[in-house]
Amino acid sequence: MNLNEHLAALQIVVPLLAVPLIALLQLRRMAWLVATLTSLMAFAIAVAMTVGVLNGQDYQYFMGNWQPPYGIELRVDALSALLLLVITAASSAALLASYHSLDTQIEPRRHALFYAAWILALAGLSGIAVTADAFNVFVFMEISSLASYVLMAGGPDRRGLPAVFKYLILGTIGATFYLIGVGLIYMMTGTLNLEDMAQRVTQVADQKPVLAAAGFITVGLALKAAMFPLHLWLPNAYTYAPHVVTAFLAACATKVSLYVLLRFDFLVFQDNLVSHPLRFASLLMPMAIFAILIASAVAMFEKNIKRLLAWSSVAQIGYITLGASLVTVSGLTASVLHIFNHALAKGSLFLAVACLAMRLPGLQLRDLAGCARSMPWTFAALVLGGLSLIGVPGTAGFISKWYLISALLTLGAAGVALVAVIVIGSLMAVVYIWRIVEQAYFQAPSNPAAPAAEAPLTLLVVTWVAVLANVYFGLQPALPLALSSSAAAALMGATP
Amino acid sequence: MNMYTIVLIAILVTMVLAVVRALRGPSVYDRVLAVNMFGTKTVLFLSVVAFLSGRRDFLDLALTYALINFVGVLAILVFVQRRFSVASSAKSED
């Protein structure tokens, strides 16, 4: 009974087992300790699976020992492994940072339930990444959504409640659209397993229900992934959520819905529906371009730092969908790479914001005036994270921008126009990062009498680990590159 | 077979009448009455259809309906009574 064979199942079972235990723990720090240990264990399992996937072992796990179309099958390939790494790493980093950061926002007696909801969100997100059954994705999507509504509604600010209510309504509509899409496909193919569905959809390719299903699934997942026209819930939800929750969910929550969209579109619809690649590209590309331009523009004029970074998240999702909409192997590699690199950049930025929030009265730009001198380490981390977001050479952001531009250049004339869009997007990113830097370093401190002290040590260490990871993967991108290129090849070739 | 159809038609017509009363009912209690009537009719409808389709082991569904109907009506009454006592205490205060 070696554990290696059960890794795919343990990735979800370990967090699920921990949830009831954490919910029962009323001791003051025990809940945080058990939650962090569970998250680190999940991270270890993800790393073990990534190593297995890199040297060619494909994890396939039949639940209850039933063959796939009859039972539920878990499947971990390069794309799932990369996503699992992102989810568990973001959760572990944010949990380590929450030791200090959470006491300022939630009364200690409610921490046990908060951490139980946190580990539920982790289990839900990693469940979506691992399962290969269309309806099972819906169940885990609901677990992760319910848990993230609870996490986001935990903040002290009363404006968080209407924001989370809007997120709940739009998220449920998105999940139900996805359910309608799966229902329509199941009606025409008779199976729920993604592999089996891909083979059987060829016979019923061009009937109306399958086209309607493709439409419903794309709109539903676009709503969950906050793609441009459907992103209205994201800025307020991220701004008023507790800081560590924003750090965790900004790094991975929306990426998971993009992962499901990629897996559905490239595995089930791609080579079966006639002219689907053209339809897929013609729908996603304009949405991506608008996302990059308009979201970055709005970010330039934002007053609150967290809302500024939330709008920049909407823009970065635009980059990911732009790469995916090229429907070429290099385009997909760039898009999957950017899932990894954006998680690093945005995670470290929001952790730095969590450090700021510990010491500063508010998160408006004017509260930052001249605090760089009294909080040097935090602002250095903020600057490095900003550079990675812009895509300065030597940071992770540059790698994905580089592969995106090289993928676009292969398109010829249209590619050059798209490269122009990316350059404009990056310039706008420079502007809104510079506004923070200029406010912090070159403004006179608003109240010289009470200089802010440096953030607590553990918080700083976690932030700096994330920032150094940014730089490391900027210089040495072998791991994410290998994973994303084999993932892109698998998706395009659709070879199981 | 037509023995059951007469009763079923009667039940369905009464369901429509209950819905009309629920929509038109001027006071809240008319609606509670309509919900109560609708619940009992569903119980009868289920018992007769269970016999009509020959699957007689579905009668415990009808029992569940009766239970849910009773608890639902009581829950509504507790709510209305609390709403009334809060209103009356408000009236008595000012």
Partner: protein
């Protein structure tokens, strides 16, 4: 025959849905929603979905009404008349409806035996269940054994809702709205419902256990049983008032039930791994695979029933306690 019933009941459904939307008083809209779920459950029964009809009745009509009433008691029940100019919403919704109706012509006709979903996976289920799992109710066999991972996710969805409601409603109230609502005294003046309710309560709980263990042979199972037992205990709380209910069935028992049921379900899965099979593999649980399947399904249905009952009770008491918070 069934098509006539279905057509009649479905048109009644649409009328009720329109009535719910147009109802100004939220309390009235809620009562129409009760009728709406009763109609849905009857439709499911006519379309041969006995288990789903039972669940929709127990959870849809019973628990949803009680939770909505709890929330309405804490908020206002009058909807402000808001004259919305639906210039955006109407076209969007009309286009979606037209697209769906247009797409529905390629769907298989109602009850068409050649429809693809009756050809591929389901015949295997119908012929293999007597051999592999050997329980009459195929729905419980699929729910409990073939797709047990879905049900595990389901148990954690209801547990997530329970944790969420407890977390949200345990926050301290902003000081100025601490109104001194009278502690819920239940139906004090109504002596007859109290006597009738107290007489019926044991039978409701007994009926809940019957539905729990009858799940393998007829319509029933963990979800329905948990909802019925929870409805019974909510009836007790309604009649006797909040404090006596909490004294009879304290909060920590409910929390232990909610967490314990989910844990029991996951541990049955882990036992499958420990005994050399896969996760949630019951054949290895005992020497004879069929007995193992029976044991496995019995245990996880018990886990589901316990969690659903504990979670629904915690949610109800969270809303009820919020008044006198």
């Amino acid at each position: 025959m069934t098509i006539l019933f279905a057509v009649f009941l479905l048109s009644l459904l649409v009328i009720i849905a329109v009535a719910i939307i147009r109802a100004e008083n939220l309390f009235v809209a809620l009562m129409l929603t009760t009728i709406f779920s009763l109609l849905m459950a009857t439709n499911f029964f006519i379309l041969d979905a006995a288990d789903v009809a039972l669940t929709e009745a127990a959870i849809g009509a019973g628990i949803t009404t009680v939770i909505f009433l709890g929330a309405l008691a804490l908020t206002s029940e009058h909807e402000k008349p808001f004259v919305a100019v639906p210039w955006l919403a109407l076209p969007v919704v009309a286009v979606t409806a037209a697209l769906l109706i247009f797409a529905s012509f390629d769907n298989p006709r109602l009850g068409d035996p050649e429809a693809p979903i009756h050809q591929h996976v389901v015949p295997w289920y119908l012929e293999q269940t007597p051999k592999l799992v050997d329980i009459p109710n195929v729905v419980t066999a699929i729910l409990g054994s073939f797709r047990a991972f879905d049900t595990l996710g389901e148990v954690f969805v209801i547990f997530a809702a329970c944790i969420g409601v407890l977390f949200l409603l345990s926050a301290r109230k902003p000081s100025e709205t601490r109104c001194t609502a009278p502690a819920s005294v239940g139906l004090s003046q109504h002596l007859i419902p109290k006597v009738a309710g107290r007489f019926i309560l044991p039978f409701i709980i007994l009926f809940g256990f019957y539905v729990q263990f009858h799940g393998d042979f007829g319509p029933g199972g963990g979800f329905q049983a948990g909802a019925i037992v929870a409805t019974g205990l909510i009836l007790f709380a309604l009649l006797e008032g909040e404090e006596r209910a909490l004294r009879a069935f304290p909060r920590w028992i409910m929390m232990a039930m909610a967490a314990g049921g989910a844990l029991l379900y996951a541990l049955v899965g882990v036992a499958g791994i420990a005994m050399g099979g896969k996760f949630l593999d019951y054949s290895v649980l005992s020497s004879d695979p069929i007995a193992g399947q029976h044991l496995g399904i019995l245990l996880i249905e018990a886990g589901v029933g316990i969690t659903v009952c504990g979670s629904l009770l915690l949610i109800f008491h969270a809303f009820a306690a919020r008044e006198s918070f």
